[in-house]
Subunit: 225 residues, 4 copies
């Protein structure tokens, strides 16, 4: 249902020092090069202030890191799906563990993203929440146990059942939803393990953003596909 090819590697650049301004643009360019060289689908989530600026300069899809469910209009400083679309975004993360949303707002945002042609990726923290998210009909669900985020311990090894279980339960409720996994992913081996567990891609951040060579880290990741 999503316009993004799978398997996919989604790079969330968060609000790291290493992804601000020109450094964020360099990360987006690295993703673009890797996609051009390998044919593997990558997506970049720039820092919020950089979205339009980066989206105008790369050919890969750019996703917002977060969108808010405020109405278009008097919503000073809020990040709307409609604004993301106008900025050149192709989709958005929704409900990342560092930026949780109410269940009603997740539902509203998935619907608004669909109407705008934006790919929606709802982040979840365990199997039953993944199952719940499936009923809201997003394009993708990214299961990320918060306790593993940023640890370098890949979810695909530390807790394979949470990936397998999410894939099964999401599929039982809504076959249209693609399941990704995240948290601790940093190598091609991690990606391969995730895909063997049924995931259609990965969502990651520090493993690439803080790598000495982000491009080399990305090339290693795509080698797992």
């Amino acid at each position: 249902m999503s316009g993004v090819a799978t398997p996919v590697i989604i790079l969330n650049t968060k609000a790291y020092q290493e992804s601000m301004g020109e450094k964020g643009l360099a990360l987006a360019k690295a993703c673009e090069e890797v996609t051009k060289e390998t044919g593997v689908s990558t997506v970049i989530c720039p820092q919020q202030f950089d979205l339009a600026w980066i989206a105008h300069q790369v050919s890969i899809p750019c996703f917002a890191q977060h969108v808010d469910a405020k109405d278009v209009g008097s919503a000073t400083g809020w990040a709307l799906p409609e604004s993301a679309k106008a900025a050149g975004a192709a989709g958005s993360l929704i409900n990342h563990s560092e930026h949780r949303l109410t269940m009603a707002d997740i539902d509203t945002l998935v619907t608004r993203c669909r109407a705008l042609g934006l790919t929606s990726v709802v982040c979840t923290n365990n199997i039953q929440v993944s199952a719940a998210a499936a009923s809201l009909n997003p394009d993708m669900i990214a299961i990320e146990p918060p306790e593993l985020i940023g640890t370098g311990i890949p979810v695909s090894r530390a807790d394979p059942d949470i990936v397998r279980g999410s894939v099964e339960q999401v599929s039982a409720i809504n076959r249209n939803v693609v399941v990704l996994c995240g948290a601790g992913i940093s190598t091609g081996e991690d990606v391969r393990a995730a895909i063997e567990l049924g995931a259609k891609g990965v969502l990651l951040a520090s493993g690439v953003v803080k790598a000495d060579s982000p491009k080399a880290a990305l090339l290693d990741l795509v080698s797992g596909i």
Copy 2:
């Protein structure tokens, strides 16, 4: 203390349909033209996703509409002062009535903005809150009675005492802070009245963003200075 010349007209483009993407860039260009033609200081607050993109294309100061007090790092989808700086911003609105912050976070953000060389504009809703904000030592305070925002009824006429009182009390507590006013401002006459009450400029949104000709609206506004 701020790097922005006063009197100043600050245009908050909010999350209006009329300020997304290319339309937001056109609004920034209109401000730039007016400043070039008249010498009056203007500031544009683009939609959050457009900040870097617009800041790279205009010579007038660009302010973030809002910043969050999260730490640099794992802060997915949050808008940090450091990220605004890297995006090319010269300052930020803080605590707009549509995006309130805790008192502790306002304090933190003013301090972080100062360290980054970003001009801080703390929005307030009445005289005692303006006085409170003065103790937090921002560069500017913008008094905006929420009930007048978007009405076209200028605060300078509907409630002149709130402007005069804010100027007096802020000055008594902290002489370094510049006071602006907002809410319902749309004409040069409104601006003149604000300045006669002691304000050093205005913060406005719909009066320009939704005007048939934003540039004509801006020219009318600067005529009041």
Copy 3:
């Protein structure tokens, strides 16, 4: 799975003037009398500050209006499931439309309530959110279209499909979950219609709290069962 008998009438007393202090106790006593006289199950949700005080004085189940997912300990002013249990509560509303929670917190709270023997009632706003909530395995789901709350226009008449659809979808995902409905319910006829649509009870507020005679209003409601 819940310890509350169905069909049930749950009275949410919100933060009305008419339900504070002694008036809230009188509402609880009215529910207790109606249950004693008619045998129909009623539940009272007192104002938060009154929970223990009222729970010590009536024999019907008292539910918290809301609980927060903070950890036991340094959580000043937050309302924890463990505290509700110690106060004598038999359950809690979770995610009322006037007090939304994140999906992750709803999940956590349902789990904590179950461990404490508290009946969990997750409020939802449409069919797909009801389906999502079913995966989180609460004891009960109360479907309440926010636009009808407080109107006196009963959801069972204004939007019967939302009740029927919620019952069907919740049942398809999790047979253990009881479905209630709310919003605009004020008469026995409304209750009867709700039950004919598959609901096992109702959640209501102003129709009783603001009635000239709350007991008469309750007696009318139970006549629909």
Copy 4:
């Protein structure tokens, strides 16, 4: 301006296991006994659900731990000043570091508390925020550096300048405001030091709540006055 005698010891029972239900009542009774035996003013802040229940059973003032700025009416699960008053409270903490509020809401709550005859205690985290709070005209300000809360390292020893500076700046802005201090206070010596720095009392929690004998801990504290 407040109805509470100073010097005062305010016991915030937070959401500890040791302060739920009957244990919370016992803490309130211990405060009451200490006040009766020593004549020193004490205030208890019960867990939110226990406020009315405890307020009906002790003669010392009971304060809410937190109040919300929602309007009376449809505010499910929110804790209103008006509800606290009806529950028998004599005041409320406002803006505790574990439950921050926006500056506009602090202003609103102080005003509503005053109109209800409730003593308002606004918590602050540093000198400039104390100064800011003074402009909002609460009855009391409690300066509590968050990094010392729960450590047992008393603010009066670890950071005497923050207490002295808050007393000075608050007094310069608003002579009617009483300054308390908190964080790490657990002995009579800590209380004496706080009072020597200009505070009119202390706000504390774990030092008493988690003591083997809360009454003995309280008696030690009052010995510092």
